[in-house]
Amino acid sequence: MQLEFLLEQVVNGLVLGGYYLLISLGLSLIFSVGGVVNLAHGAFYALGAYASVEVTQYLGFGPAVVISPVAVAILGIFFERFILRRFYTADPIFGLLVTFGLAMVTEQAIRIIWGAAPLSASIPPAFHGSVFVGDFLFSRYRLLILAVVALVLLGVWFLLQRTSFGRVVRAGIQRPDMVAALGIRLEPYMMAVVMLGVGMAALGGAFFAPITVVQPAMGDEIITVAFVVVVIGGLGSFWGVVIAALLVGVVRGITINYVPAAGEASIYILMFAVLLVRPRGLLGERIEKFE
């Protein structure tokens, strides 16, 4: 009984971890390649959720989860071109400050456009109900999310590890000046990485809109957790982020079961504990510009 219960919590934690993963992966990529801590990432997640709620009203759920990430990714082009690009070579602190300001502005803009009250979004009828997987009862919608996260993960992994695009991006994380010396302009790659990153955040927002509260400050709540995941996993490490997201999800899931009030706190305590043992995170490498 005890073991089964624990197993169930672990599986629930994995679902939660998948949710964190969509946000954290893009954050980690932008952070690793551009050296900018994008505190506005949560704002893109919120925009993704709001856009999908809006589109669902006219076109339905299916088109909404495609259109909303694409629209946000296009917004990402402007974000990269006119703001982020100025901060790649600056002291990372200024990138932190400017994206913090943008997060504030976006949240207020959402408040003005959609109002301060939470919006309601519903799970599409096709995914109502639950199914048994082995001994466990799962809601269909959560399984769908898990499948989407797994697909996205696979896609990003393939992109980074198996394509020439990915090779340039990974080289850019380590030695941007060497990449430039080989005659490759990093700017278009960076723009693509930002589009990919904010697009993933928006995708997360679109899929989670029906099962969380869609409200203006939703980005604030996710962004700190996403950073905790990135810091625990280690900067510049793909698998570090994956492992950390699942770990954070599981730890939080188990804690909520025993001490509900400490659920939120547990992930920060986990982070401080990991950093005491491994200062650069689980799989982080030494990257000079962040020291």
Partner: protein, 700 residues
């Protein structure tokens, strides 16, 4: 080089005037005195935060934690132990903040830069969820209510004017304390840590202790503000510890200006007035505030104070400093100032035996030994990559050796850290100049002379009251030949000047043995002569271990020479023996390679068209003029070798071709097209590939 009394008290006078004028200003704007209390309390919080950000370079996203802990502690202490009192709860809450920030600081100050900021961000989120969820203690969502302001004698502090006065006086006291602190030896070290933490630790400062101390002080000041706001509202809510509030505090600092003491206070006033005035006609004032904040970060990172200085510059331009070095007075052949001469040294001063260091699979230094005796100049030579600088790093404490012993005057200094090694009497200079670039030359040297005295931890006495330190600094400036240009920023000096300052910083630590890493590299001929003489003068009293690539010169003035190759010590002998040694000659000229005829047959060269033309190119690193009208042709079918000693500009020339360093003037033609102005050679088809000399390839 002391600061005038007027400049010292000006911030305090300004603040007093502002505090007196504020109530009238607010009334004119139609705002209440409560707004004034808010503004003053937030000003104190922001100034406390700026001690971390602006002075020490620690960008904290989590100061809402201290603001909140201060507020909750004061509230809880009043409710549980001292009902209706305000003074004891205030004082005790400061103690609570000090204790908790001390513990947290030990953990999160282990990391620097962006990591530190992210840790503080997580701290803010942690304290918010704690305050929000632990409702038994904090009242959770409802907040902690029922606080009292108490009274002074018969005057009740519930009166807004009375409470404003109290807050204003406390604010002035905090400002006075912060001003004393920043003018003290302690405060000057904070700025040194911001400018260059590594060098500060090599100067003998235990930087971790300084950072922990400033973190605690800054937290206490911000916490005090939190407590004042708690009594102002008669309530503490979880909003006081929220992450957005942490960001707002940061915004106040940036908008006001982090490079000055009163800047953040101005930012706080701006924030409060902005909020009150905008919220009258729009509920979306935060949108406009956010946009203002973004605009400041992008266009005026020095804030309102920075804008003010820029405006003032229009009317009173700064004096031209271009020809800085020419203003200095040089006295040749000065003896080493008496205060720098160590007590009589005898025999072996520094003894390194069997030291090894491996990096992964690379044996950077293997079983190396070296002895430096009193009164000698000991040269350490060897080709690039021989392990000379690594050996320096091992001796001076940057790395801990895997094996071996290092003794300084028979005391073991193995693995005790750079600052402790400096206190034992070993100082070093750096191959690539390593200065406090934003500080004046005078301050660079003064920091060194201050580091080895007990007063370095003093947080109260003004730096100008230590006359002896100033006298010593002046004498050191004179010895180095830098007299007359004290006020120039180190980063603005020419390269030769920076090398002198680097040497001076090491010398200012009053060492018993001095390690110099290529002090002549990149200097012009006349300058080399002068610095060599300086080294000889120093060595009359302090033994010098010197790494230098100018072999002829270094063999000319050293008494003993150690030759390293591939991480190992090849031999130690007098210069004549080294010069005559066959193995040394082989290292420097190579062996077993057939002699190549380096002859260009002009007839052939004349026929082929140049593929790459490099014509009168000038390249600068900051002020350092590295390539001077460099000209070079590469023709089809040619291999062109680029020779020259270290610091001659070979790598810079390659980097300029590759576009990694911009050329200031001149033309670079590739296949007839000028590519000098293309950044990073984005012109397609320009197939210039660069093979870096160190293994700098991406491990992808």
């Amino acid at each position: 080089m002391t600061t005038s009394m007027g400049a010292k008290v000006r911030p305090l006078l300004l603040a007093t005037l502002a505090l007196v004028a504020l109530p009238f200003l607010l009334r004119a704007l139609g705002l209440s005195l409560d707004t004034g209390i808010w503004a003053v309390a937030l000003a104190v919080a922001a100034m406390g935060l700026n001690l971390c950000i602006g002075y020490t370079g620690l960008v904290s996203f989590g100061h809402s934690t201290w603001f909140g802990i201060g507020a909750y502690a004061a509230g809880l202490i009043q409710l549980h132990w001292f009902p209706n009192q305000i003074w004891l709860p205030l004082a005790l809450s400061m103690l609570v903040v000090a204790a908790s920030s001390f513990i947290v600081g030990i953990i999160i100050l282990r990391r620097r830069g962006v990591y530190f900021s992210l840790l503080t961000l997580a701290l803010a989120a942690l304290s918010y969820t704690t305050a929000f969820r632990w409702s038994a203690l904090t009242g959770g969502e409802d907040g902690l209510g029922g606080l009292k302001r108490g009274s002074i004698g018969t005057i009740s502090l519930d009166n807004a004017v009375a409470y404003y006065t109290v807050v204003a006086v406390i604010g002035l006291a905090a400002l006075y304390f912060l001003l004393r602190l920043t003018r003290s030896p302690f405060g000057h070290v904070l700025v040194a840590i911001r400018e260059n933490q590594l060098r500060a630790s090599f100067q003998g400062y235990p930087v971790e202790r300084y950072k922990l101390a400033v973190f605690v002080i800054s937290a206490v000041v911000t916490g005090l503000a939190g407590a004042l706001v708690a009594f102002q509202n008669y309530l503490v809510s979880a909003e006081a510890v929220s992450v957005p509030f942490a960001g707002e505090l940061l915004a106040m600092v940036v908008i006001g200006g982090m490079r000055s003491m009163l800047g953040p206070a101005l930012g706080a006033l701006f924030f409060v007035v902005f909020r009150e005035l905008f919220s009258i006609w729009t509920s979306n004032w935060l949108l406009w505030f956010g946009l203002t904040f973004v605009a400041f970060v992008m266009y005026s990172p020095d804030g309102l104070v920075g804008i003010w200085h820029k405006l003032m510059r229009r009317f009173r331009p700064l004096p031209e400093e271009a020809a800085a070095m020419s203003k200095r007075k040089i006295y040749d052949g000065l003896p080493l100032p008496a205060f720098l001469r160590p007590d009589s040294l005898e025999g072996t001063v520094l003894e390194v035996t069997g030291v090894s260091k491996h990096f992964g699979g690379i044996r950077a230094v293997n079983d190396a030994g070296i002895k430096v005796a009193a009164g000698e100049i000991h040269a350490l030579i060897g080709p690039n990559g021989a392990g000379k600088t690594t050996l320096f790093n091992l001796i001076s404490g940057l790395y801990t050796p895997d094996q071996g012993t290092i003794r300084l005057q028979r005391r073991d200094i193995h693995g005790i850290g750079p600052d402790a090694i400096c206190h034992q009497g070993l100082a070093r200079s750096f191959q690539i100049t390593n200065l406090f670039r934003g500080l004046t030359i005078y301050e660079n040297l003064r920091l060194s002379l201050q580091a080895r005295r007990p007063m370095r931890f003093n947080i109260w006495r003004d730096i100008d009251s230590f006359a002896e330190i100033h006298a010593e600094t002046a004498e050191l400036m004179k010895f180095l030949g830098l007299e007359g240009i004290e006020r120039i920023e180190a980063g603005a000096l020419s390269y030769g000047g920076q090398r002198l300052v680097d040497l001076g910083i090491a010398l200012g630590s009053k060492p018993q043995v001095l390690l110099l890493d290529e002090p002549l590299a990149g200097l012009a001929a006349a300058e080399r002569e002068r610095v060599s003489n300086l080294v000889k003068n120093i060595a009359a009293n302090i033994p010098v271990l010197i790494v230098e690539h100018d072999i002829d010169r270094v063999l000319g003035f050293s008494q003993n020479v150690t030759v390293m190759n591939q991480g190992e010590v090849l031999m130690t002998a007098c210069p004549q023996a080294v010069r005559a040694d066959v193995r040394v000659q082989e290292i420097y000229t190579g062996k077993g390679i057939p002699a190549v005829e380096h002859q260009r047959i002009d007839a052939v060269a004349g026929e082929a068209d140049p593929l790459l033309r490099f014509d009168r190119v000038n390249t600068f690193y900051g002020k350092s003029h590295v390539l001077n009208d460099a000209t070079l042709d590469v023709r089809e079918g040619e291999i062109v070798a680029l020779l020259g000693r270290n610091g001659a500009g070979k790598s810079t020339l390659l980097k300029t071709i590759a576009g990694l360093v911009p050329a200031a003037s001149g033309s670079i033609e590739f296949q007839g097209k000028d590519i000098a102005r293309c950044r990073r050679r984005k012109s397609r088809g320009t197939a210039s590939a660069m093979c870096p000399r160190a293994a700098a390839c991406s491990p992808a």
